[in-house]
């Protein structure tokens, strides 16, 4: 369990997945990817172990993920085979509204 900070980068320990925190809730929580706890992206950890079959849909670079209550939002910055979850609950992919290009 740890408090997440906006801008923090975390990586999976069981796949190549990596995320950045966009909106952080005001509470401690456990972020997992592929069913295993995520670690700070700066840590020298190479992925090992197995992606849990219930957390194996994957994360896709450039997609944003939110929790049910929308108090947590993360951006996937590297794709991976594991799915993201907070305190055991799988995150949902956020739909982005297609906007006209303006600049």
């Amino acid at each position: 369990m740890a408090a997440l900070k906006m801008g923090a980068r975390l990586k999976s320990t069981v796949c190549e997945g990596e995320i950045m925190v966009v909106i952080a809730p005001d509470a401690e929580l456990e972020m997992t990817c592929g069913g295993a706890a995520m670690v700070d992206a700066g840590e020298a950890v190479t992925p090992s172990g197995e992606v849990h079959p219930d957390h194996a849909v994957g994360v896709a670079m450039g997609k944003r993920y939110i929790d049910e209550a929308e108090t947590l939002e993360v951006l996937c910055v590297k794709s991976g085979d594991g799915s993201l979850a907070a305190n055991g609950a799988l995150l949902l992919q956020k739909d982005t509204k297609k906007l006209p290009k303006t600049d």
């Binding site: 906006m6 801008g7 923090a8 980068r9 950045m20 966009v22 700066g42 670079m61 450039g62 997609k63 944003r64 951006l75 910055v77 590297k78 982005t96 509204k97 297609k98 906007l99 006209p100 290009k101 303006t102 600049d103």
Partner: protein, 505 residues
């Protein structure tokens, strides 16, 4: 949270795709090359001990490289306006030392002599980036770090340096651009200057979407049309004066159609778009999607958009009210809130004029040395005047400071200008307040006649009188050959006011 992350993702997803091409020299960067060069230059900037990177040059490959290398090195990027006088440039430079300056060869010796400035030419900045032996430490992820310091145009006094933090710029991009949303055929033509917020936003949003940017360093309508045809440009942003020149140039070619079949979208902003220009442009570019974007430096660029469908619906409408939406700047982006408030800070009813307030993650509202001017709830007063209709469409009505106070009555220049622009002989107009003994301020107008027509000023005054209350009829009307605009299309109202005041007295 760091803008370098945008480039990191792009270079991982499409390393070999062309990222930037200098339209004048043809030199280019792929996404991987830009990423590698940013790492190399970040190393040099860190080793220099400079606390800011200043870029003083036209748009070229050194522009995106400076932005990303600064972000990587953890120093603010400060693009300066190369059109300022030497004295003005030196004064701004002295405010951002110790600085690493990237500039044209011709300025090197003079500016390199300024205290605490290490100057390098853009050419060597780019050449030295080829050495890929650098091993720069990763960039910081602190969202509070300053990404960009952007001097405002300073039309009312000494330029202010707007502070844009990584969290503002990244929020703007994540909220408005789809990652990898562009195809390999997508090409953006960027002609706004690098020291303008739209120029910075164009770099970031193109990178995040994976679009190829072609840079046009010095705008002319002919060069813009040539480059757009040559590179099969699919998207572009222009300020209203640029679009007016492009339309004129195409009309001079005698073409019924612009001959730019690849141009899927054309967006504009940065000033008021005359109805006649946008109507003509929509005829010349029948298959192009038009978007009107409204934003400020202090809001990390766009906060409101009028989209393509809304353009078409308004253009095809028969009622005056629906047609009027063509000059609206549209509705707020997701995550952006807008309110119109009166002088006492109270929200005004739909349709009424007031000052535009904005709130959102991308809104900075902060100036260096002055702190944030947002209120305790995060609302930023834009100093722009406007109104919002019942459906949430925003209309701009000039700067809040441009209000004319005549005999205690507040008059909006925009309302009077809109009426004068409907006169068949008027192509451009600026309405300002000039000092008056009787009224405090009197209404005065400078008008430009359409080619081949002449303006009878008395008849024009009658024309306004038939449509508006008599207090709004300009007491002084002068016919000018053109109105003064700055290079990014902002009307220099102050110049109009000074000249008309001199004529009045």
């Amino acid at each position: 949270m760091n803008v370098m992350m945008l480039l990191e993702m792009a270079s991982a997803a499409f390393p070999e795709r062309p990222a930037f091409t200098d339209g004048s020299t043809g030199a280019s960067f792929t996404y991987q090359q830009l990423f590698d060069a940013a790492r190399q230059r970040a190393d040099s900037i860190r080793n220099s001990g400079a606390e800011r990177l200043v870029k003083l040059d036209v748009s070229n490959l050194g522009t995106p490289l400076s932005l990303f290398a600064s972000a990587w090195a953890g120093v603010p990027y400060v693009p300066l306006n190369y059109r300022l006088t030497d004295g003005e440039i030196q004064a701004l430079l002295a405010r951002v030392t110790p600085a690493y300056l990237v500039t044209e060869d011709s300025r090197l010796s003079a500016l390199g002599a300024v205290a605490d400035v290490q100057a390098v030419s853009t050419g060597s900045f780019l050449d030295d980036a080829q050495h890929t032996n650098a091993t720069a430490e990763p960039w910081a992820m602190d969202p509070e770090e300053i990404a960009v310091l952007l001097f405002t145009s300073g039309t009312t006094g000494e330029p202010k340096a707007a502070v844009l933090r990584h969290k503002h710029l990244v929020s703007y991009i994540l909220g408005s651009v789809e990652f990898a949303g562009a195809t390999e055929e997508d090409v953006a033509l960027v002609c706004v200057p690098p020291y303008h917020i739209a120029g910075i936003a164009a770099i970031m949003s193109s990178v995040y979407s994976g679009r190829h940017v072609v840079q046009l360093p010095n705008f002319s309508a002919e060069a813009w049309i040539d480059l757009a045809r040559k590179h099969k440009v699919s998207t572009a942003f222009v300020v209203p004066t640029m679009l007016a020149r492009i339309v004129e140039s195409l009309e001079a070619e005698g073409a019924e159609d612009a001959g730019l079949p690849h141009l899927a979208s054309l967006s504009y902003g940065g000033g008021k778009m005359p109805l006649s220009v946008i109507e003509k442009a929509m005829t010349l570019f029948p298959n192009t999607d038009f978007s009107n974007a409204y934003g400020l430096t202090e809001t990390s660029s766009t906060i409101c958009v009028l989209g393509p469908e809304e353009h078409r619906t308004a253009a095809a409408a028969t009622s005056e009210q629906e047609r009027r939406r063509l000059v609206s700047v549209g509705q707020p982006l997701p995550g952006v809130e807008i309110e119109i408030r009166d002088e006492d800070g109270q929200q005004v009813p739909a349709g009424e004029r007031g000052e535009i307030y904005v709130r959102g993650e991308q809104v900075s509202g902060e100036y260096e040395g002055r702190g944030s001017v947002t209120d305790s709830e995060g609302w930023f007063p834009t100093r722009d005047a406007g109104s919002m209709d019942a459906d949430g469409y925003l209309f701009l009505e000039g700067r809040a400071d441009d209000v004319i106070v005549r005999g205690g009555e507040n008059l909006s220049p925009g309302e009077i200008e809109d009426v004068m622009l409907t006169h068949p002989a008027v192509v451009d107009v600026a309405v300002v307040g000039v000092p008056s003994e009787q009224w405090g301020e009197a209404v005065a107008a400078a008008v430009v006649a359409k080619a081949g027509t002449t303006i009878d000023t008395a008849e024009l005054q009658d024309y306004v009188k038939e449509r508006l209350r008599s207090s709004r009829v300009p007491e002084l009307v002068q016919v000018w050959s053109e109105l003064p605009y700055n290079e990014t299309g902002k009307l220099l109202r102050r110049v109009v006011r000074t000249d008309l005041a001199a004529a009045q007295s």
